[in-house]
Symmetry: C2
Subunit: 494 residues, 2 copies
């Protein structure tokens, strides 16, 4: 895999001068084309051996292109904020917007490779991280991103020679660190595991480009030429259709009996009984979130349900029991312009709480398979793949210590009508009812099917859905608080 990068490439000075001039102009032009038509982001990953010109390449791209349209990020070891979250979190956070270029020095590939080289991970865990990477890049590709991955290469002998040269020259000696020499001692391991990683992530839409790092002229022109051609060929294409073939249609059960139909929506609970229970449960919840063990975990609550099913009231009964410094309520509406310029899950990844933190989502990522499906805002292939992406997201949270609890608040068609009418009559609640709410009622059956598919495809033993019979608000709130306390207790081993 590295053979061609060891045969000795070079470009003479005269040719370099001519080609460099031409490519710089071409790169700027194409960068503005991309800005004019911001359909996709470009992600450039810089990897390879120390001394093979990675840093110089970062500089080059920023010099030859317009740096205002480039987000340059150097990833080092993870800080506290990143360590408190799933390992992919910091890469999600730094994704470039459509129309822009993200230039990553080090990336998830460095985490996977060096954890293995240093013996932190065994071979199986290394492969699992590679699998995480593949799913991540596949998601990005399906979302339209252009991913260009460079591996700057040097043979063992040439790396040694290069490090010595740099060290000898007073002007560059500061650039050779102890880490560089430690990595040199590990050359064979880096090469071997690097090859394994490159092989398994060499997909046809984002292949690795291995570059001989010895001759700067050759390296610079290769990088510029590769970036230019990749962006140019992508700009000439239609937008990706997400998957080669359409997903097969999702069918309603042949007897039209859905999981929601199995609920008895009217459940008894008196106001007096509710008051007593509520006090006890709020105390229990407060206690649990102040338990020292809770600091190793985090809490992600998802509230979805029919319009007027009582999500807001339920959320308030929870937050009343919490320390205001520990939680955030995140109301989810249509995505903003900034959010639309990113993969659809990006705005939720951003809000993943760190350890000890609590995030309460009032509506959530499930909008993708509910309103966006029913209203046709997302194409079928896009919401179909969302089930997979959602499961992937939630399980990454779960494995990182998040207690993910998801509630669907269900009320009957008649109960909803009564509540809508009551809201229209009560002055201070009138803002809560809009024309859209009435329009949604017309699509009751389409939502019923979408909710059922959602539960079938995203309720798992580790991150289950709790369906809440909510015609009686008291019953609903008590069921929610009880479920929540039990979920925390189970995870904390209380």
């Amino acid at each position: 895999m590295f053979e061609s990068a060891e045969i000795g490439h070079s470009i003479d000075k005269e040719r370099y001068r001519v080609e460099a001039l031409r490519l710089r102009q071409a790169l700027l032009d194409i960068q503005y084309d991309l800005k004019q038509k911001p359909d996709f982001p470009v992600l450039i990953l810089i990897h390879g051996f120390d001394g093979a010109g990675r840093g110089e390449t970062m500089k080059l791209i920023n010099e030859w292109m317009d740096p205002r349209l480039i987000d340059t990020v150097a990833f080092g070891s993870r800080n506290d904020e990143a360590r408190a979250r799933p390992w992919m979190w910091r890469y999600w956070n730094q994704l470039p917007q459509k129309g822009r270029i993200g230039l990553f020095f080090g990336s998830y590939y460095s985490d996977a490779l060096f954890d293995h080289v240093y013996g932190v991970t065994d071979h199986d865990s290394f492969d699992r991280q590679i699998f995480d990477i593949l799913r991540f890049e596949r998601m990005l590709s399906q979302d339209g991103a252009l991913i260009i991955k460079f591996w700057f290469h040097l043979s063992r002998d040439k790396q040694k020679k290069r490090l010595k040269e740099l060290e000898k020259d007073p002007a560059t000696s500061w650039r050779v660190t102890e880490t560089d020499w430690r990595h040199f001692e590990m050359y064979d391991h880096i090469r071997k595991y690097g090859e394994h990683m490159l092989r398994l992530t060499n997909s046809s839409v984002s292949p690795w480009i291995v570059v001989d790092g010895e001759d700067a002229n050759y390296r610079n022109l290769t990088v510029a030429n590769t970036v230019y051609n990749a962006i140019k060929s992508r700009l000439a294409q239609a937008l990706p259709s997400s998957d080669a073939v359409d997903a097969p249609p999702l069918l309603a059960p042949i007897d039209n009996k859905l999981i929601l139909d199995s609920l008895k929506l009217d459940q008894p609970m008196s106001r007096e009984h509710y008051r007593v229970k509520l006090d006890a449960l709020q105390g229990r919840l407060n206690h649990l979130t102040r338990d020292p063990r809770f600091q190793d975990y985090s809490l992600v609550l998802v509230f979805e349900g029919n319009d007027a099913a009582g999500k807001g009231g339920s959320i308030r009964r929870i937050t009343q029991a919490l320390d205001a410094r520990t939680y955030r309520v995140i109301p989810v509406a249509a995505p903003t312009e900034e959010e639309r310029a990113q993969p659809w899950l990006w705005r939720f990844w951003r809000n993943a709480p760190g350890r000890g933190g609590i995030a309460v989502f009032d509506r959530s990522w499930y909008g993708r398979v509910l309103v966006e499906r029913v209203e046709g805002f997302a194409r079928e292939n896009d919401w179909m793949r969302a089930y997979y992406e959602i499961n992937d997201f939630e399980h990454q949270l779960h494995e990182n210590g998040a207690i993910v609890v998801k509630f669907w608040l269900a009320i009957s068609n008649e109960e909803q009508l009564a509540r809508f009418q009551a809201r229209e009559e009560t002055g201070f609640k009138r803002f809560k009812i809009t024309d859209e709410d009435w329009r949604n009622r017309d699509k009751w059956d389409a939502y019923r099917l979408a909710v059922s598919d959602m539960v079938d495809r995203t309720s798992t033993s580790k991150v289950p859905w709790t369906l809440v019979e909510a015609n009686n608000k008291y019953f609903a709130r008590i069921k929610i608080l009880t479920t929540l306390c039990e979920a925390i207790e189970a995870r904390l081993g209380v």
Copy 2:
């Protein structure tokens, strides 16, 4: 994930009669449409709990559809032939042709699930097998296959009830085996690991269909309706374009210096020296393949090279040293009609040797990225993904014990011309030179680039390419035999 399959579905007798009649006719119609337009194969996988109607479903599909167009395969435990090869081999072997339906009772999913349930594999190995499955199904999908995956479900209580019922009735008691009861004891494990497996393989193009297995009427109509709609919607689509977005262009190195250029094609070796070395190497090779340790391995040899580079002569020098019962020489030409109706790697998987066996490929799967690329027989996206698929294939062979040795025989343009002319002049060699050979010479530069990309993308430390300087046939043959003996010795630890 299984909730909706536990709420109790059923279809009454009257409705069943009407719907069944309609669906049977529709299924037959669509099956003939598929046969008329054999653009893709259909793969139906039957999984789930014992007693949930898996066997009945196999019968149903064969009764309601035309069984002559269905390949029904029940996979049990692996026989000797399968155990001597990579675990995916037997599934490759049974793939249905385009236009036909493959009905698999048990599949790679059963291997992965039950190896884990029985504790043969740990969690990491389980996930690695799931990763193997994902790559396999992705390859099939990109090739156009429609994959329909059923999981027939029963709750724990209902499974117990169902097994007891079957056991009580003398007409069905034979159907309940000890394995069924042993699996029942493992219900919780099967459910838990099954859910994990379903979640990770629930891709949008081949989602799992979970079916409540209790009521036969409901189950039958659900299966028939699902199969009908999936085939119908796929028939209405254009052929898959392999990947959503086009692969970025592969560029020649900016200095146009390719790995082939680093070879010194003229290497000295006298006929006398050759004779002596040849005898010694053939003896060494014979000895190695008769070593008892060799029975744990197999040998896969790949010969590629310029036309007239001496592949045939080199192969004969190897086979002269082998026991004729242990090896097969497989000459690879354009695929036959049967082979074109399968994924492109299928004809090579079929020929994977078992332990102790030797397969010598005279040309190989690399035609995909050589002649098919250069001549435009394969679309760019298809040959681009072939690098990944080839690496995957060869590493599966390697991990299963195959010693894979690949030779590229390189001669110069002038040497080829001289050999072509000599062949035309020598009567008995004239059949070896065709118009196509002359045409290929015109594409010398395109092949030069294709060979270089091939080496860059498929030469790995475990399965490297050996480039052979072949202007001197003696030198080439000796280098090949030496490399081969050393590769076997390294693997056997001789």
